[in-house]
Symmetry: C3
Subunit: 351 residues, 3 copies
Amino acid sequence: MTDSKTNQGNFFEDFRIGQVIRHSTPRTVTAGDQALYTALYGSRFAVQSSDEFARAVGYARAPLDDLLVFHVVFGKTVPDISLNAVANLGYAEGQFLKPVYPGDTLSATSEVIGLKENSNKKTGTVYVRSTGFNQAGEPVLSYVRWVMVRKRDEAAPAPKAQVPELAPAVSPDVLGAGCPKIAGKLWDDALAGSAHRFKDYEVGERIDHVDGMTVEEAEHMLATRLYQNTAKVHFNQFSEAKGRFGRRLIYGGHVISLARALSFNGLGNVFHVAGINGGRHVAPLFAGGTVFAWSEIIAAADVPAQSDVGALRIRTRATRDLPCGDFPEKDATAEEPGVILDFDYWALIPR
Amino acid sequence: MTDSKTNQGNFFEDFRIGQVIRHSTPRTVTAGDQALYTALYGSRFAVQSSDEFARAVGYARAPLDDLLVFHVVFGKTVPDISLNAVANLGYAEGQFLKPVYPGDTLSATSEVIGLKENSNKKTGTVYVRSTGFNQAGEPVLSYVRWVMVRKRDEAAPAPKAQVPELAPAVSPDVLGAGCPKIAGKLWDDALAGSAHRFKDYEVGERIDHVDGMTVEEAEHMLATRLYQNTAKVHFNQFSEAKGRFGRRLIYGGHVISLARALSFNGLGNVFHVAGINGGRHVAPLFAGGTVFAWSEIIAAADVPAQSDVGALRIRTRATRDLPCGDFPEKDATAEEPGVILDFDYWALIPR
Amino acid sequence: MTDSKTNQGNFFEDFRIGQVIRHSTPRTVTAGDQALYTALYGSRFAVQSSDEFARAVGYARAPLDDLLVFHVVFGKTVPDISLNAVANLGYAEGQFLKPVYPGDTLSATSEVIGLKENSNKKTGTVYVRSTGFNQAGEPVLSYVRWVMVRKRDEAAPAPKAQVPELAPAVSPDVLGAGCPKIAGKLWDDALAGSAHRFKDYEVGERIDHVDGMTVEEAEHMLATRLYQNTAKVHFNQFSEAKGRFGRRLIYGGHVISLARALSFNGLGNVFHVAGINGGRHVAPLFAGGTVFAWSEIIAAADVPAQSDVGALRIRTRATRDLPCGDFPEKDATAEEPGVILDFDYWALIPR
């Protein structure tokens, strides 16, 4: 009943180690995309909000939000990597390598770096390293993700299991490439909205980001289409009504962006996501749910070649329908409130 | 109770054959509009998505989506042509005459080319040829539509019926003007997301576009306002609650754009809508409905002055709440799932 | 339980007369913001819609909608002025001082010009004059608003009450600075969508703007985040469910923009909001409500240094779920339909 001209996506047995996939639909990102990003999340970081502020500290102009770049690159990989995915299991070794400005054109490739069939023979885990490029062919973002993908045919032979060794965290030595040399002296705390610099944060410190944001169906679908992400579960209520949850699932990356935007309240000078150490979507979000977030500072480091900024390693949990005043750690389920995202990243902040 | 300064719209007896109406609200279309278009439909055609891809094949940069141009021009005609319409009956003789780029300013005129009172004396059909222009005064789009319009006064005398002879289809001889000369050799199938070129499609071939997209109230209203389309039935739940369907009707053009975006899955290299042969909104769409689509290739033709592309004549049906694996032809009703749009267009694809 | 790094906002006792607050998050406004503004309200005023039309009458290009500028500046003041507000009580002495174009960067300051504790000792009224600046440091907008703000501590001593004397209306002598010299002869009524010029409006005239617009949760949240307005009551259904109304409140400025967009039908040539004499949000709007509007011309004046335009002083009422054919004046309550906004402004129109 399906037509050979339509994309069925790859199944587990279609991947092989070392395979490099060039993803389709290059995308020129514009001030229009950034405006939508602001409307979707209400992000208030000064560098991404103001050309003037960005120029004052060293950028050519306001760069696109780092996570907007992430979502656009991620979106390109979906038709090839995760159209038949059961679950998005994790991220690692993410690095933002170059600022992306309005007018740049993003494209993406993925290399298959790991494959492991599950014992039920119905699914397997696929590990890919995805890289986003600008129009000059320069890498702007690289990250590993792994997804559980269905097999087309349970009887299909599986390749020998090969699981990549992934760094538990991005080394601070490679951070700082994704932004120009920042002139800390020209950083204006009042305009940035926070008096707190690198030295003001302590390892072990926990911050409740206080505010909550309720998500509507129209919002997450607008976001996910903006990223040209084609994962079916986000869009089709007709089929999801008969599915496991009875409703559309919200793209996990939408939660990452909501948590990052909420984190402005407490982390206002943390201007640049530099690395993604790890991340798990531990429970689903549905429309009508309200997202809260809290963060813990889990490390602090110098950044080579950036004398005016330091790096904070931040672990942010986002919750569904659970304020974070007492820093909750219990995972949500589809029914019960709790943590839905556990995200571990490096970010830069002026000294 | 109504005020003379407000626009009551034209009624059937206000139109006369040969009348040319200059529509109000010229509109500069921008990268912001294109970003919203992407967020509303998730369209993935490479030419409209990437300046780099567009330049490589011959465009000055990524042009606006053809249907975004259509909707903006259509929107301008609403306050003069269809504010008192009962139904939008059909389209014909649509031609896209020139690419429209971000920064261009669109304006529109309509000429009344046919009038026919209905036997009930309450309504009549108005045929107009509408033309969209860019800031240089060059026509970018021309199409005929006919609508059933209420009479202000049943006793008003009707003009002699005059129904225009409309071509059953746009001649392929005039296609290809709406895009630059395409360099087929520089077309990158992997980036475009499809391996299928002109020769790979056969007349009679049917393609299920597989995916479904559920529409929310906020989405269709954002779209319809973006087009500055003022038709009341899309926006006012207070009055529609007392109306025939009890709820807001979704702008038919929203369905055309959804169907075109869904058609990427199967028609990924079909980069340019060149002509509209006909189109009917056969049943309404309401918020909460899920749109699916399938297409049939009904003709293929050479395009004079474009050696590297061919034209496919495509008949696309969009359905409400009905997957298209078995190519359904039954019209929906307000209650029952089925076909809601029957759209016949010419589109270009590289050889 | 709260963290010292998060913004708790200022309480009544934190303000002092003469205090000047520089607000955070400068914002480069772009064609993307204007596209979203069009999608949110469907505004059709030709000057803001078309670069060509705007240039013909004297602008450098299409300026941003005046109220978009207002909302962005207003949004910046929220974290410092009204995070702990109980109610937004009024506006006065608003002046639009310079056109804002896509690419300009807006920042804002507020000066505290009045303080008055309420007799219950729990709250007090704070009067601020807020000013928005462009990247050259030129003021583009100035207005006074007053809000009722909670005290952190009822026992905190209150400053001596000081209530500013506010002009009942902006003097027409200062209008006209916020736009270039308009070439009235080059104003094209057909393109603008109205045949009515300055002389066609009479003091005392009432105009029903006819159309109604229903508002969805996704829409007002997209708008309010676009303005980087952080007032909690608009976004957090989890906490609002337990609040006074059981649901999210819609930002009052959203209603102002809806009313202004609806007013095109009757005031199509009224191209520029030049001054805000006063404004009150007399009742709340919730998602699902339908907004209607009517206006009364309450004064007309010459504009020094603008020979081709005149100023109309317009009082616009917006209603919830109440058509305005008989010009309703009764305030809505949370439950009953009626007037929700009473807005008194000066606007320019060609002679």
